[in-house]
């Protein structure tokens, strides 16, 4: 119990006594804001008309908050706030460095686009089931995972986003959705359990959960701790979350069942949280172990990207095809993590690119499916003749996901391939290039069959896509085009982010100022 003022206890031994300036609040506000607005939307869930307005407004505020946070991190370096004023490592720290802030900003952009797209895609029953509250709680989980500086807290945010994603997945309660949701839920629970076991093991070894503290202790006590076992457990758990081969089968089995905007958000956000955690844990906390495991990760990466691309060629349902492309992209990011060094920047860049482009691709597939009345490539056709603007948007996305210049998919693939060649892993660079080629065939097939081929069946819905669908799609396409044409501003931040991950001394200083521990 806090005694009234006047006690003689030295509080500075336990508490942060320096006042917290308002700017420091930026590190926690994205999460708190999502929780507050999610709760308000849940209370208002009977007001079906006001929900989208409020949710889009809340997501726009989230984008602004994440933008301010990124600006603050670029200006002043990593930013830390310890919950409840306790000194780290005892209090739960929220620490935003460049990597976390970049991921948070891009996830907020994608969520905003999804919120707008959902105005048309989610009908009254979906809203009554609570699409928008779930979306904001999902964003609380995603932002929390990107911004936390405590590894058990990372687990908690994984659970938050997982539970929200269950809700989104079964929106509407169709039998097919339940089937997809069961596979998704079971395999993801296995992955989170593995993660929890790894965290428990880590706590047993280090006696701390604060990431900065772990980074220091891992460097000091590497010789006498079984860190390889621990790192392997983390790779398996996060690899499963990220849908890496051979634990990728849950993703294509479930991503085609929910509403299209839900698939779009999942494809953009969820697997990237797994990749982010791999970056955080393997690159920042256990760099030596990552080096040891790099061959294993590289083999998994090559298999993931090639099998993903081959799987995409083999599908005739557009949504399933995109599910395999998500998996294939994860392979490229893993390759970057396996290579290390400049490859890490490539992995971060590819993750940001993939967030935007995979979300946009799913949205485009939703519009295409609505226009032609089917998601099956064998029945679709004539989209180009019907709406040229939408077809142009889709073509940009197809080229971008295949890694063609001048779009955003090109640069990260070049970075990863070059980093792989530099360390002599020709086969890895070769599989990145081969994946690009196979992806091109897969999306070229969609383009030829659904867009170019004259329509064989009467049109599904006569009207073109509404502004609520075209607007977010255009905005995301604009992002991929701009990043592709002018990569320098983003690239320089990403390279700074990667070097901060490789040498986390600034991160550690932000958690433990003046070297106090």
């Amino acid at each position: 119990m806090a005694a009234p003022a006047g006690s003689s206890i030295d509080l500075s031994a336990a508490l942060v006594l320096a006042p917290a300036p308002l700017a420091d609040w930026l590190v926690i506000l994205p999460v708190a804001w999502c929780l507050v607005s999610g709760a308000v939307l849940l209370m208002l869930r009977k007001n079906l008309h006001i929900q989208p307005l409020l949710a889009i407004l809340a997501l726009a505020v989230l984008v602004v908050l994440d933008g301010l946070l990124l600006w603050r991190v670029i200006e002043g370096g990593p930013l830390t706030m310890v919950m409840g004023r306790w000194l780290p490592p005892f209090g739960i720290a929220f620490t935003a460095d460049l990597t976390g802030a970049l991921f948070a900003l891009f996830s907020a952009l994608v969520a905003l686009a999804g919120g707008v797209f959902a105005v048309q895609n989610i009908d009254g029953s979906g809203r009554r089931y609570g699409f928008y509250p779930f979306l904001l709680l999902l964003m609380a989980g995603v932002s929390g995972a990107f911004l936390t500086g405590d590894i058990f807290n990372l687990y908690v945010w994984f659970e938050v986003l997982l539970i929200s994603s269950f809700g989104l997945l079964v929106l509407g309660s169709e039998p097919k959705q339940i089937d997809g949701a069961v596979k998704y839920a079971f395999l993801n629970l296995v992955a989170t359990t593995l993660f929890l076991i790894a965290v428990g093991y880590l706590y047993g070894l280090f006696g701390t959960l604060n990431m900065a503290d772990i980074a220091i202790k891992a460097a000091e006590r590497r010789a006498d701790l079984p860190l390889m076992t621990l790192a392997t457990l983390f790779v398996l758990a996060f690899g499963m979350k990220a849908a890496a081969f051979p634990v990728n089968f849950w993703l294509p089995a479930s991503y085609h069942t929910p509403r299209i905007v839900v698939s779009a958000l999942f494809a953009g956000l969820l697997t990237k949280v797994g990749i982010y955690s791999l970056l955080r844990v393997m690159v920042m906390l256990f760099p030596v172990e990552r080096e040891e495991l790099s061959f294993v990760i590289a083999v998994a990466a090559a298999a993931t990207m090639l099998l993903g691309a081959l799987g995409a060629i083999g599908q005739s349902d557009i949504r399933r095809l995109l599910g395999y492309l998500v998996v294939s992209g994860i392979g490229v990011m893993l390759a970057g993590i396996a290579v290390g060094g400049p490859g890490v920047a490539g992995a971060i860049f590819y993750a940001l690119h993939s967030m935007v482009v995979m979300t946009a691709l799913y949205m485009a597939s939703g519009v295409a499916g609505r226009l032609s009345g089917t998601f099956d490539l064998n029945g679709a056709g004539g989209l180009y003749g019907r709406t040229a603007y939408f077809s142009a948007l889709s073509l940009v996305l197809f080229l971008s996901v295949a890694g063609m210049p001048p779009f955003s998919g090109f640069w990260p693939k070049v970075m990863v391939a070059k980093a792989a060649i530099d360390i002599g892993a020709w086969w890895l660079a070769g599989s990145v290039l081969l994946t690009g080629f196979l992806t091109m065939i897969a999306v070229g097939r969609v383009w030829a069959l659904a867009y170019w081929r004259p329509s064989t069946t009467p049109a599904g819905e006569g009207a073109g896509p509404g502004p609520a669908a075209i607007l977010p799609l255009s905005a995301l396409v604009l992002v991929t085009v701009l990043v592709g044409l002018f990569p320098d501003p983003l690239l320089s931040q990403i390279q700074a982010a990667a070097s901060l991950l490789a040498d986390p001394s600034a991160y550690i200083d932000s958690v433990f100022p003046h070297g106090a521990r």
Partner: protein
């Protein structure tokens, strides 16, 4: 379960348990108890009422939809953390005031507000699950 004895006793049992849940909630700051366990006790009280009298009376007695109660609890818990912003201390720092009511000093804190939020979240969530289960049961 649909006996006269149970139907007659259920409201009294519910009232007693709800009162006890508030006691456990408030005691929780320094002794065993707290928002979570208090919320569970309250939710089981409502479940007993539901088993005795049916779902509709529970919904009427609650006035608000259970999910709304849970959402309000989440809001309270978040606001309890955000109050620290005004005091220029980090998120979730416990802040205390000691107003004097009728000559008795009453310690109030954001920690208690947070616990109240947890209580409402648990009551709302568990009650809506219980009501859904009871509805399928019949």
């Amino acid at each position: 379960m649909n006996t006269v004895i149970f139907r007659t006793l259920a409201p009294f049992l519910t009232a007693l348990m709800l009162l006890f849940s508030v006691f456990v909630l408030l005691r929780g700051h320094n002794e065993p108890g707290g928002g979570f366990i208090g919320g569970l006790i309250a939710a089981s009280a409502l479940a007993i009422y539901g088993i005795g009298r049916g779902i509709q009376p529970v919904r009427q007695a609650l006035w608000f939809h259970p999910m709304t109660i849970a959402a309000f609890g989440l809001l309270l818990a978040c606001v309890a953390g955000l109050v620290s912003m005004v005091a220029a201390v980090p998120f979730m720092t416990g802040l205390w005031i000691y107003p004097s009511l009728f000559g008795v000093e009453v310690p109030l804190s954001t920690v208690m507000l947070f616990d109240l939020g947890v209580y409402l979240v648990v009551v709302g969530a568990i009650t809506s699950i219980a009501l859904a289960l009871e509805r399928e049961d019949i």
